[in-house]
C-alpha cells in the first residue's frame, strides 16, 4: 500500500470520506503526516501501525493528540527528531508567541 489510505486508519472520524477537524492544528498535524508519507519518510503501513499502537497504549486522549504522540514516537524511533528537540522547540514557540505583538506573524529567533 503506497497511497495514503486514510479510511484504513484506526479510529479516524470521516465525513463523506474526508477527515473531520475540530481545530486548525489538527488539520496541520494531519497534513504533516500525509506530506511525510509522500516524501517516503515512512510507509503508510508504518504510520497506521504507530497510530494504532498509540491509541491502544492505555492513555485516554482526544484523537489528534494521539495522532501527534504517534508521530513523535515514529520520528524518535527513526532518529529523525528526538523528543528533547521537540520539547525544546515547543518552548521556543511559546516564547516567540509571548513576545510577538498581536497581528504580527510569529517568528522563531528574529535576527
Amino acid at each position: 500500500m503506497s497511497a495514503a489510505d486514510i479510511a484504513a486508519l484506526d479510529g479516524i472520524e470521516l465525513h463523506d470520506g474526508e477527515p473531520v477537524f475540530r481545530e486548525p492544528w489538527e488539520a496541520q498535524a494531519f497534513a504533516m503526516v500525509v506530506a511525510l508519507h509522500q516524501r517516503d519518510v515512512f510507509t503508510w503501513d508504518e504510520w497506521a501501525a504507530a497510530l494504532s499502537a498509540q491509541i491502544h497504549s492505555g492513555t485516554d486522549l482526544p484523537y489528534y493528540r494521539h495522532w501527534c504522540a504517534a508521530l513523535e514516537t515514529l520520528l524518535d524511533t527513526k532518529r529523525i527528531a528526538d523528543r528533547d528537540a521537540v520539547q525544546t522547540r515547543e518552548k521556543a514557540w511559546h516564547e516567540a508567541a509571548a513576545r510577538t505583538p498581536h497581528g504580527e506573524a510569529i517568528v522563531l529567533d528574529p535576527q
Binding site: 474526508e18 481545530e23 486548525p24 497534513a31 506530506a35 520520528l75 529523525i80 527528531a81 511559546h94
Partner: protein, 190 residues
C-alpha cells in the same frame, strides 16, 4: 497543541523532511470540504429572519450559540453587516484568532503577512485581486480579529433570491464572503 505542532513542523522543515508549501497544499484540498457550513447557516438565517438579524447585531455570540455553534475558546463574536454604504473585511495573521467554529479552517492566504499588511493599506486592491469590485461610494472597513473578539461578515443577500429556502441561500454564502474578500453570490449553474 498549536505550539507543539508548529514545533514539529519547523524542526522537520529545517531537517529537510518537510516542505511547508506541500503541507499547506494538503490542507487546502481538505478545507474546501470542511467548508463554512456553520457560518453560511448563520448568514442565511439572518437574511430570512429580521429578528435573528437584530439579535446578531446586538449579541452575535448568543445568537450564534443558539444555533449550536459553540466555540470552546469562548471568544466574543461580532457580526458586521455589509450594506450599500459599507463593505467589511476581516484580517489577522494568527490562525488562533480565526473563528473556525463558524468558518471552518482558515485559508492559507489569510495567515500570510502580506494579506494582513496589504488589507490594511490597500483594501480595495486586495478586494480587486479576489475579483471583488465595489462601487466608488462604498466605504471599506477593515476589522482586526483578536483572541478576544472575532468578526463574522454578514454579506448582502444577492439579488434575485426572493423566496429562496434557507438551504438554497446557504449555497450563496462562501467562506470568503464571510471574511469579506468576496460578495455572496448565487451559485453558478445550479
Amino acid at each position: 497543541m498549536d505550539a507543539r505542532v508548529r514545533a514539529l513542523e519547523s524542526l522537520l522543515v529545517e531537517k529537510g523532511y518537510l516542505d511547508s508549501a506541500a503541507v499547506d497544499e494538503i490542507i487546502e484540498t481538505y478545507e474546501t470540504r470542511i467548508g463554512p457550513r456553520n457560518g453560511a447557516h448563520v448568514v442565511a438565517k439572518a437574511w430570512l429572519e429580521p429578528d435573528f438579524a437584530d439579535w446578531l447585531k446586538r449579541d452575535a455570540t448568543a445568537a450564534i450559540h443558539s444555533l449550536g455553534y459553540i466555540s470552546r475558546q469562548g471568544e466574543h463574536m461580532v457580526a458586521v453587516f455589509n450594506d450599500d454604504e459599507t463593505h467589511h473585511m476581516v484580517v489577522c495573521t494568527l490562525c488562533s484568532c480565526y473563528p473556525w467554529s463558524v468558518l471552518g479552517l482558515p485559508p492559507t492566504w489569510y495567515k500570510s503577512p502580506p494579506y494582513r499588511s496589504r488589507a490594511v493599506i490597500d483594501p480595495r486592491g486586495v478586494l480587486a485581486e479576489f475579483g471583488t469590485d465595489l462601487l466608488d461610494n462604498v466605504g471599506v472597513e477593515v476589522h482586526d480579529s483578536t483572541a478576544e473578539t472575532r468578526y463574522l461578515v454578514i454579506p448582502a443577500r444577492p439579488d434575485g433570491t426572493d423566496g429562496w429556502s434557507e438551504e438554497q441561500l446557504m449555497a450563496c454564502v462562501s467562506r470568503d464572503s464571510m471574511i469579506g474578500t468576496t460578495l455572496a453570490a448565487k451559485p453558478v449553474a445550479a
